[in-house]
Amino acid sequence: MNWNLFVTELVAGITHGSVYALIALGYSMVYGILKLLNFAHGDIYMVGAYIGLGIITVFGGPLALTVNVVLMLFIMFLCSMIGGGVLGVMIERFAYRRLRTAPRIAPLITALGVSFFLENSAQLLLGAQQQSYNSFSWANGPIALDHFSLPAGAVISYANVIVIVGALVLMLALTYFVQRTQTGKAMRATSFDREAASMMGIDVDRVIVVTFFIGSALAGAAGVFNCIVYQQVFPYMGFQAGLFAFTAAVVGGIGSLPGAVLGGLLIGLAEAFATGYISSTFQQAIVFGILIVVMLLRPSGLLGRAVIQKV
């Protein structure tokens, strides 16, 4: 067995999986509270990636960075998270809020429209061509190139470490927020039963805004995480990532946060090993296969609770 290839794909899978998990968390949170499949979520990830690119350009471009890399990464995450969060809140306010009581299909079609609008606006403003973070050539510290070696010759670059550790930190922070704070408690209550929560004095509108902000901020961060490893930014990048992340959320059990993380890692690993051992053209088919199998055998997802419909 080729140990080197195995470790390389394992690291790639966990890296990609962390990115999917971050996006899937937002999908899952929004779905848990509004029962809305937010197709525009993947495009928030795209916007986050572009915000990161903008910060690199502001600091002199990849070849002539004027600040320390660590400081710049910090600013990139801060800006993309705030930018993504604000975008998410705006989408909720202007596109979805009026449709809370509408038939279910209305917000879904609106979400499609928002996604299409964001993708094509990005193409109009920023061009259809792929742009690159070029983190291989960052002047003071090429994080994608510096690496440490493992036994048997496998290498892990610092960029992968940043992604995996960063995603872990964000997930832990989210868990703390949801489990330990007052707002987190309100969020769980709203997700359990929106009407009852509002009767108990929870400001449901505020909870929904907070949910959209946090979920979208995670997607914005995921955009930067993805690009410091895989470099490429383009207007339609959110589509496939969003599709895979949503699959991850469904596989893990939609509405369940640990489920979203588990699903994300599973999809990321499946994708990486499919690319490494079979062919990169069939990764989509394999992820689709996982989705179908899970839906046939365990429709509520790996960690989800079966929904009992009340009348």
Binding site: M90, A106, I109, G113, N120, L243, Q284, P299, Q309
Partner: protein, 487 residues
Amino acid sequence: MADEPDIPARPDEVNVPRVGVDEWVATHESRVHRGRLRRELDRVPTTAFYAGFAVVAALLPLVTNNGYVIRVGFDTLLYMLLALGLNIVVGYAGLLDLGYVAFYGFGAFSYAMLASPHFGLHWNTLLIVPIVVAATALLGFLVALPSRRLLGDYLAIVTLFFGQLFVTVYQNGNQISLLGFTRKVDVTGGPNGITNIDNWNLGGLHITSLNGYYYAALVVFLVVLSMMYLVDGSRTGRAWRSLREDPLAAELMGMPVNRLKLIAFAMGAGIAGLTGTLFAGLNTAVFSADFDVPTLIIVYAMLILGGAGSLGGVILGALVVNVSLEILRTPGHASWIFYLSLLALVLVWVRPWKWAAIVLGGTLAFGYAVYGIVSAVWPRGTEGDVPIGGLLGDWLDTWMIHPSNPQTIANYAYVVLVFAVLGLTLIAGWKRWLAMIPTLYLSAFVWDNRLVMEPSITRLILIGVILIVLMNLRPQGLLGTQRVEIV
């Protein structure tokens, strides 16, 4: 208007029993106040409209021999067929099918494989069409099968994924081998697609001309429309609508919910497959990229604009959207449409009339003022080219500023415009009408300096905006009937 007769509280229709509809809901239509024109139109049976449409459509090739117009007519008929098929799934059964164009592509590719030198098969179209329709319907059935027990959202994600997978598989299907054991076979032509497809061959009658295909599409369309008209009032049609309104209640009333979903899905897919054979027959070449998300969203926009669930609405939606998208291709025509729609927007939306006049006059004055200031302060700001000529172009040259290198500034203006429009929805009354004046000018600026140069992106942006705005303001579309809620 005072001379209009009052609408009777209990019109005659009340005594007609309506199957499966609450009486209050059933009489809702007769309680809605309508203008005189609308009431006269309501009296004409809907079949008369369809017949009129058929006659007008049949006369089109006799009136003009402009190939481009016929071609747009053919494409519009194809879109109408697609929208009719999608209407079954989305409009009647209320299921979100996001893999719909994959069935269209499947039909087109299946026709291409059975009637082209690709595999050396040249079957008769009369044989191919039933096979393709049955195969596509079966495919739709299989795709819907895993999600039949689940909520509509899961169906949406499975079908969206299926649509993507279709494009990927057909894009890479030129080197398929069975688990690596057989030699590689070119099944789908890969990125090069399948070309040199045969024309339609109806048992010896070859359809080769554009007019021939136009009439073939018209005949297919009328057959499908009649079928839909019958299905609309049938037991299955009513069952679908009850499923859409409330799946749980439908199930409790003893309806076979799963079977209904699967029938709707398979029927929609079958119609898409049928449309695909027409597409492949005329174009004589198919590429998987034609069946990607943009096509899907365009069909959705047609369905939503006209009103999902209403046959006339679907036809009207496809006509309006496809013809507008064609007009958008030429900057000169597109600008006329754009400025006329701005005018119409103000006239329809702004009330009372006094304010509409103020907004229009204000926008004109605002434009001349901005033009005067910019040409005095920053001469290069008015030196750019006007994208169109003619009467409108000459007027725009004196009213709208055209910087010599507009791209960057127009990009920023686009972002500001988005925020300005969102802001307009937050304020009300006279403040909103006042704020409309600079917003209108800004939108004209963005249009003239950026959007009109990029018709292919602009049309997609507009489609997205149409979906968002319609769903928020008029979810029933132009001709759909509003849902009546009983609490």
